[in-house]
C-alpha cells in the first residue's frame, strides 16, 4: 500500500532529463536569438540611458524646481508641493540625490512603457470577451509568479543590465493599467453609448470621444497602481544591475548596514507617497464632472 504514503512520482532520471531538456532548448533559443532580441531592445536601452543622463545631469536646483512644478500641475495643492520640496531637500542632504534620480528615471520610463503597451491592450480586451478570457489569466500569472522566477529566463536572454531590469519591472507593473483600462471601458454607461450610436458614431469615434474619456478616471487609477508596483520592484531590479536606491538597499542587506538600509528604504517610500498623492489628486480632478450631484 505504499501508493498512499509515497506519491507516485515521475522517475528520477526522467525528471532530470525533462528539466535538462527544457534548459537545453532554452539555451539553444538564447544562443540563436539572443543577439537579435538584444538588438530589438537596443532602442529602449538608448532611451533609458538618455533619460537617466538627462535627469541626473540636470543641476539639482533646476530639477527640484521642475519636480515641484510637475507636482503642482498634477495636484493643484500647495501643501503637497511644499512637502515634495522638503522631501527632496532632505534626500539630497542625506547624500541620496543621484540614486534617487536614477530611481525616478527607471520608474518614469517603465511607467511610460506600461502605459504605451497597457492601455491599447486593455482596449483590446474590452472589445471582446474572448480576448479578455485569454489575457486575464496571463495577467494573473504576471502578478503572482515570484519575480525571481522570470528573472531567470530574462537573465539568460539578456544578461545583467538596465534593459532586463526594466523588463522585469514592467512585467510586474503592467497588469493594473491593463485591467483597469478594460474595466473602465466596459463600465461606460450604456445609455451614453447608445446615444453615440444613434448620432452615427463610427467605432473609432465612439472609442475616442466617448469610451476613453469616460474611462479615464479608471485608467488613471490603473496608472497609479502601476507606478506603485514599479516602485515595489526597485530592489529586485537592482539585483540585475539597475542603478538607484535599490542598489544601496541591497548593499545594506549584504553588509547589515541598518542606517543605510533605512535611509534608502524611506527615500523609496517618500517618492512613492509623492507619486501616489499626485496621481490620485489628478485622477480625482478627471472624475469631477462624472459625479452625480443630487438636487
Amino acid at each position: 500500500m505504499s501508493i498512499f504514503t509515497e506519491f507516485p512520482e515521475m522517475g528520477r532520471t526522467d525528471l532530470r532529463d525533462l528539466k535538462k531538456g527544457i534548459d537545453e532548448a532554452f539555451r539553444m533559443f538564447t544562443r540563436e536569438n539572443g543577439e537579435s532580441i538584444e538588438n530589438f531592445f537596443y532602442p529602449l536601452l538608448k532611451f533609458l540611458a538618455w533619460f537617466e543622463r538627462l535627469i541626473v545631469g540636470t543641476p539639482w536646483p533646476l530639477m527640484i524646481l521642475i519636480l515641484c512644478a510637475l507636482v503642482y500641475a498634477g495636484s493643484r495643492s500647495w501643501g503637497l508641493t511644499v512637502g515634495t520640496l522638503l522631501t527632496l531637500l532632505v534626500i539630497g542632504y542625506l547624500g541620496m540625490w543621484e540614486d534617487t534620480m536614477f530611481t525616478i528615471a527607471l520608474i518614469s520610463v517603465s511607467t511610460m512603457i506600461c502605459i504605451v503597451i497597457g492601455i491599447p491592450l486593455g482596449i483590446l480586451m474590452s472589445k471582446s470577451d474572448r480576448t479578455q478570457a485569454i489575457i486575464t489569466p496571463i495577467l494573473d500569472i504576471m502578478q503572482t509568479i515570484p519575480s525571481f522566477v522570470y528573472l531567470i529566463p530574462i537573465l539568460m536572454l539578456l544578461g545583467i543590465g538596465k534593459v532586463p531590469g526594466l523588463i522585469a519591472v514592467c512585467i510586474y507593473a503592467i497588469p493594473p493599467v491593463v485591467r483597469l483600462t478594460n474595466l473602465g471601458i466596459r463600465l461606460v454607461d450604456r445609455d451614453v453609448l447608445e446615444a453615440a450610436d444613434a448620432f452615427g458614431a463610427s467605432p473609432r469615434q465612439k472609442l475616442f470621444t466617448v469610451q476613453i474619456p469616460l474611462a479615464l478616471p479608471n485608467i488613471f487609477a490603473g496608472v497609479n497602481q502601476t507606478i506603485m508596483m514599479a516602485l515595489a520592484m526597485v530592489v529586485v531590479a537592482a539585483l540585475i544591475g539597475v542603478h538607484g536606491l535599490g542598489q544601496e538597499v541591497l548593499k545594506a542587506v549584504n553588509n547589515q548596514y541598518l542606517a543605510l538600509g533605512m535611509m534608502n528604504g524611506l527615500a523609496i517610500v517618500a517618492i512613492a507617497i509623492v507619486f501616489d498623492r499626485v496621481s490620485q489628486k489628478y485622477g480625482k480632478r478627471l472624475q469631477k464632472h462624472s459625479e452625480v450631484i443630487h438636487g
Binding site: E194, P213, G295
Partner: protein, 342 residues
C-alpha cells in the same frame, strides 16, 4: 421637397439566439407567453405596420413592456429586426450597409432619450454639437449652430456648464438642442419627457409643439402617458404586447376605442381637449348666432366661448370665414362628459 414619411412594414422582432425560426409560429398565432415558455425566446414586436406621415408627430403609446422603445430603435436600426422593412425615401433602413447606416444616422435622424444620455465629460455646448462633430463639421460652424439651438430651447448662458450642474429639465433641453442641431428630417423621441416632473413636462411639450410649427419634422414620439399622446400626436398608434392594437388620430381613438383595454385607457381623458367641434356640429348654415368658432377647434374652446358670451349655440366657420355648421351648448357639454364605451 423630398418625402420624409416613414413606412414600417411587417416588422417582427423576436429576441433570442434563433429568432427567425419562430416568426412563422408567431404569425400563426403563438402567444408571447407560449413562445417564452416553450422556446425561451421573447416576442418583442409582432407584425407592425405603421405609416408615419411626414412633417407630423406620430406618437407610439403603450405601457412598459409593450415594445414601444424596441419599435423606435428599429427606425435608426439601433436594434436589428428579425424580419420586416423600414422604408424611408424608397430605401429599406434594415438593408443598409454599415457605412450607409452611419450616414443615415448622421444626416437623417436625431434622437432624444428618456435618461438624457448626455456626455458627462463635455460642456453643454460640446454636447450640443456632438452630432455635427461626428459629421466632421468644423468647430466654428458647429458652435454657431449649437448656440442657435441652445438659445431656442432657452439655455442661453449655460454653454460652458457641465450636465451634472443642470436640473433634469435643463438636461433634457440640452438633449433636445443636441438633436435639433443635427438638422435631421426625422426626430426620434424615446419617452423624452417621461423622467421630468409634470410642470416641466408640460413646458417641454409646449416647446416641442412651438418648434414643430416652424420646423415640420417627421417626429416619432414614444410615451406611456395618454394625455401627452393626445396633446402631441397628430397620429397615435397604441401598442400592447408587441402588437399595434389601434391607430388613428387622438379623436378617433377616444371616440371609438378598439377594445376594452383602450376604452379603459381613454375613460379618464379630458374629452373636451380631444374632440373637435366638427365631430358634433350640425352641418349646414342652419341657425344663427352672434358667436362663431373656427373649424378644427376643440370642444373645450367652444364651451368656454359659449359660457362667456351667454349664447346657447355657436356657428362653426371654416378658414375662409364661411359658416359650415353650428354647435349647441347642450351637445357640447354632452360630448364632453359622456365617455365612449366599447
Amino acid at each position: 421637397m423630398a418625402d420624409n414619411s416613414i413606412e414600417i412594414r411587417n416588422l417582427y422582432k423576436i429576441f433570442g439566439a434563433n429568432g427567425k425560426k419562430y416568426v412563422e409560429a408567431v404569425e400563426k398565432g403563438m402567444s408571447k407567453d407560449e413562445l417564452n415558455a416553450k422556446h425561451g425566446h421573447v416576442l418583442g414586436l409582432k407584425d407592425i405596420n405603421i405609416s408615419m406621415p411626414q412633417a407630423k408627430i406620430q406618437v407610439i403609446m403603450g405601457l412598459s413592456g409593450s415594445g414601444k422603445s424596441t419599435l423606435i430603435r428599429h427606425i435608426n436600426r439601433l436594434i436589428e429586426p428579425t424580419v420586416g422593412e423600414v422604408i424611408y425615401q424608397g430605401e429599406d433602413v434594415c438593408k443598409m450597409s454599415e457605412s450607409e447606416l452611419l450616414e443615415f444616422r448622421r444626416h437623417k435622424t436625431a434622437m432624444v432619450f428618456q435618461k438624457f444620455a448626455l456626455l458627462p465629460h463635455r460642456t453643454v455646448i460640446n454636447n450640443t454639437l456632438f452630432g455635427l462633430e461626428l459629421q466632421g463639421i468644423n468647430k466654428k460652424d458647429s458652435e454657431e449652430r449649437a448656440r442657435h439651438w441652445l438659445n431656442r430651447v432657452g439655455l442661453d448662458g449655460y454653454e460652458d456648464r457641465y450636465p451634472n450642474e443642470l436640473s433634469g429639465g435643463m438636461q433634457q433641453r440640452v438633449g433636445l438642442a443636441r438633436a435639433l442641431t443635427n438638422d435631421a428630417d426625422i426626430l426620434l423621441m424615446d419617452e423624452a419627457f417621461s423622467a421630468l416632473d409634470p410642470l416641466i413636462r408640460n413646458d417641454m411639450q409646449g416647446i416641442l409643439l412651438e418648434l414643430q410649427e416652424e420646423l415640420h419634422k417627421t417626429i416619432v414620439f414614444i410615451t406611456h402617458d395618454l394625455d401627452e399622446a393626445l396633446r402631441l400626436g397628430d397620429r397615435i398608434a397604441i401598442l400592447r404586447d408587441g402588437a399595434v392594437i389601434q391607430q388613428g388620430t387622438g379623436q378617433e381613438i377616444v371616440l371609438n376605442p378598439a377594445d376594452e383595454y383602450i376604452s379603459d385607457f381613454v375613460k379618464e381623458v379630458n374629452r373636451g381637449r380631444v374632440i373637435l367641434v366638427d365631430t358634433i356640429m350640425e352641418s349646414g348654415a342652419a341657425g344663427t348666432s352672434n358667436v362663431s368658432v373656427p373649424s378644427g377647434s376643440r370642444l373645450e374652446a367652444a364651451a368656454k366661448l359659449l359660457s362667456e358670451s351667454g349664447e346657447t349655440s355657436a356657428t362653426v366657420v371654416d378658414d375662409k370665414g364661411a359658416v359650415i355648421g353650428s354647435v349647441s351648448m347642450q351637445s357640447t357639454i354632452n360630448a364632453m362628459v359622456t365617455p365612449a364605451t366599447h
